[in-house]
Subunit: 264 residues, 2 copies
């Protein structure tokens, strides 16, 4: 496979399975990020997971040895909040999601209501307290004309013993009773996330590379937007999965330090 | 439209929107059923709704003036129970459903468990106490190899002020996180329900007519199985809906007494 023999202006790193696995940094992650930053490249971390805020991720990375500010992290709850601020500032929402997402939206000036006829947007997200009561409100609101959007469409979130049903389950439940497909999913691989990244980096897509462990989200998004792409085999993608996929990243990395081919 | 100028051996009546609406019998229902029974035809009542047992429906009909025994009612929870008894008697189940369905399955000798690796079938049904905990168990069980079946696939159950998310929402949530489509849905318009009906009536499909207010379930099932079909315009189907549908029932009834054209 081709070595990475150029340095990019911007590096977009997926987090889980790419930079760390659970609570442990993956081999070469700290050194690689350090070299890239020292060489003058811009680095941003990207997650679809709406269970933590940007600040939480920055704290975790810093704790693991990669000094990171909240501004260097982009996740689906932040992208959703920015998108909504732009499209419908101050709108009335009903959110099926966890406290960090609720807090982010409240702080951005949105109002929450359970009155179906007042709800302008139903927001579906990862919610471990999802229940029939919330489903009923979403159903009533969408039948009364509310728009239906989501932070992300991941089916489940991998955990050491298996997985946790993610926003894909909430979307499925709402679509299952309303027959109305979700209108907008802002998370990877949506172009809404691409725009947020490029705005943040102040770079064109062609100057950036996205590095992740998932072909269907990380690599697909990079390819659709004109970025370079690198899959790293430290997460869900195995060599066998890669061989059978129609998605072909530009680079295949055993570990993140393979990004530094241009140094040697 | 053609008058119903023959008498059938078996009459299969949908309930809500056909025989009654909420707590009131629809015009002509009692008289029509009385004439058919007196003439020697067999009558059975059919509902997809798994929130009551056959006995509950029989009691309701009797209370409204149509004397009915539990054996003359077929609903999706009973069809599911019979199907499972035939396919996997005594199996270990995890059921997302309400107490009448649970009772029916328990009485038929099935075991319930929340241990994912012991669950042989996940049963999705209408459940107003559906929550994330149940979703997690279903997810874990299906990932561990459990089969995934459902009583019915209705999106919502109409009520005077709107609707209640029905089994379609539970199916959607499970499919949304597992990516595994439900294997078997026993309720209308499934051939499993047709078999249960014909077995009960001891008649061939050609000798039966199904009367209902929904084109997509009642009429479609009748047509696919070779029964005669009659839509009655006292429920969800309006003349405009009928005109725009590709599903063409044999008969269109203003009210149930139009079934008695052969008498006059």
């Amino acid at each position: 496979m081709a070595p990475v023999n150029r340095r990019f202006g911007g590096y977009i790193f997926d987090l889980d399975g790419t930079v760390y696995l659970g609570e442990k940094l993956l081999p070469g992650a700290r050194e690689t990020v350090g070299v890239l930053r020292a060489a003058g490249s811009r680095v941003v971390f990207l997650s679809n997971k709406p269970l933590q805020t940007r600040g939480d991720y920055a704290e975790k990375l810093t704790g693991l040895g990669i000094r990171t500010s909240a501004e260097e992290v982009i996740n689906s709850s932040w992208v959703l909040t920015q998108w909504l601020v732009h499209k419908a500032a101050g709108a009335s929402l009903f959110v099926i999601g966890e406290p960090p997402l609720l807090t982010e939206l409240l702080e951005a000036g949105f109002r929450f209501t359970e009155q179906a006829d007042e709800i302008e947007f139903v927001v579906a997200s990862f919610d471990r307290a999802f229940d029939y009561h919330k489903l009923q409100i979403a159903f009533d609101a969408i039948r009364a004309g509310a728009r239906f959007i989501a932070t992300n469409a991941d089916r489940y979130c991998p955990v050491p013993d298996g997985g946790l049903p993610d926003a894909g389950a909430v979307i499925g439940a709402i679509e299952g009773c309303t027959a109305k497909p979700v209108e907008v999913v802002v998370g990877k691989p949506s172009p809404i996330t691409v725009n947020a990244l490029l705005n943040h980096l102040q770079l064109a897509a062609e100057e950036c590379i996205i590095i992740g462990d998932r072909l269907e989200t990380d690599i697909r998004m990079g390819q659709e937007s004109g970025m370079a792409t690198a899959v790293v085999l430290t997460g869900v993608t195995t060599p066998a999965l890669l061989a059978h996929s129609s998605i072909r990243p530009d680079y295949v990395l055993e570990q993140l330090s393979d990004l530094l081919g241009w140094c040697s």
